[in-house]
Symmetry: C2
Subunit: 213 residues, 2 copies
DNA sequence: CTCCGCCTCCACCGATCGGTTGATCGCATG
DNA sequence: CATGCGATCAACCGATCGGTGGAGGCGGAG
């Protein structure tokens, strides 16, 4: 047996942190060297402790997981980041992968898959949950299935104001653009989300993880 | 020291189950007698094992937490159910309390609060997270603050169809009612959620946990 | 038994939205 | 440098929505 894999656990829920911690502590192949409750703390600890693998949650108060991954990559710390989260929407998965995550597992994964995943990640292998893998493949194969295209930042901004009850005119006023532009943005949103009105667009955006937080 | 508190842990995430499990196993005041990954399994185990406390997640595939609590109460098994979940929206909290939960804690609660909560629940005491308590109190004090009134089942049904992109006419056809009735339902929804159009209503419903799942 | 909430329905109107077509500009990627 | 995409704006039209003001039946709670 080799040297144990050193781990940094990042999650805002104490329950999950303690859970993962004791799960790995009971296996001699791993050594938990630190924990963090948010992205900023995660970056500090990762830089200081140089763990083999960072187990990273995505949705956290303050600095979120994606920002933390981006920051880690920027600092050049040689760390494998394995995302471990509850959600597998495009809006969660794609930015994380893009930021440089080594792998992406879901919390409903069985115990063994998790242990295997961390070992694989430590070796630099890409580790993906089946549903996440399927999502990525679908994306490559059919880049324009409705619901498979992500609205631009501006478009989401418009949609967000719409979700708050603003009319097109009000949205236009707030963004210092004309009503015509707002309509164009919304039409683009409709086609990207595969819907045909603002109410359905708001619903689709929530389901895709684009709104609220 | 008294007899340890016997626990049944219910959560669909193996990570969380293992986590809670080992957390309580390391404290001699508790004894984990069983685990379940969904509501149906939870009821079976609770009936068979008669634990002092059931730690229950709410959102689970198949039979969810509220249904499980309702079923447990119906069977008359003398069990304290302590809800432990990530969400604290009205749509999660109120039905759970109503179904007969002894307490309601959030997963971002610190470890100690969790241990104290379970002990208190075993004694039959009501245990509430601060935010949940605040939510209940606000509800009692100001029963008609916008966003504090819950749409009826029928109204949510209409709103759900709207969220799927149906026009009022289409919703009417699907529900075998007239367009006028649909409009009335929506107007009621608007006033209950404190909004003034369908898009905002859909957004508010998502934030209140009324839509999607 | 009475009150209240929910569900149902009607009619009319102005305001808003969605569809369509076409155009200009800047920036990035190739 | 050329293509493509995002952001911006325009004008016009039919369809839909939201506002208002009632109204009746039905069932549960007081």
């Amino acid at each position: 047996m080799n040297r144990p894999v050193s781990l940094l656990i990042v999650d805002d829920h104490p329950v999950v942190r303690d859970g993962l911690s004791s799960m790995f502590a009971n296996d001699s192949g791993f050594e938990v060297v630190g924990q963090a409750a948010d992205g900023a703390e995660a970056v500090r600890q990762a830089v200081a402790l140089r763990p083999d693998v960072v187990l990273m949650d995505l949705r956290m108060p303050g600095t979120d997981g994606v920002a933390a991954i981006t920051e880690l990559v920027r600092t050049g710390v040689p760390v494998r980041v394995l995302v471990l989260t509850t959600y597998d929407t495009d809006a969660d998965v794609l930015p994380a992968i893009d930021a440089g995550a080594t792998g992406y597992l879901l919390k409903d994964a069985p115990r063994e898959e998790l242990l295997r995943g961390v070992r694989a990640a430590a070796e630099g292998e890409a580790v993906l949950s089946p549903t996440v893998a399927a999502r990525l493949m679908r994306r490559v194969r059919e880049p324009e299935v409705p619901g498979n295209e992500v609205p631009s930042q501006r478009e989401v901004e418009v949609l967000n104001l719409v979700a708050q009850g603003n009319t097109n005119r009000e949205v236009a006023a707030r963004l210092f653009i004309t009503e015509a532009t707002v309509k164009t943005h919304l039409l683009n949103v409709y086609s990207k989300l595969g819907v045909s009105d603002r109410a359905a667009a708001v619903a689709a955006a929530y389901n895709a993880g684009l709104l609220s937080t």
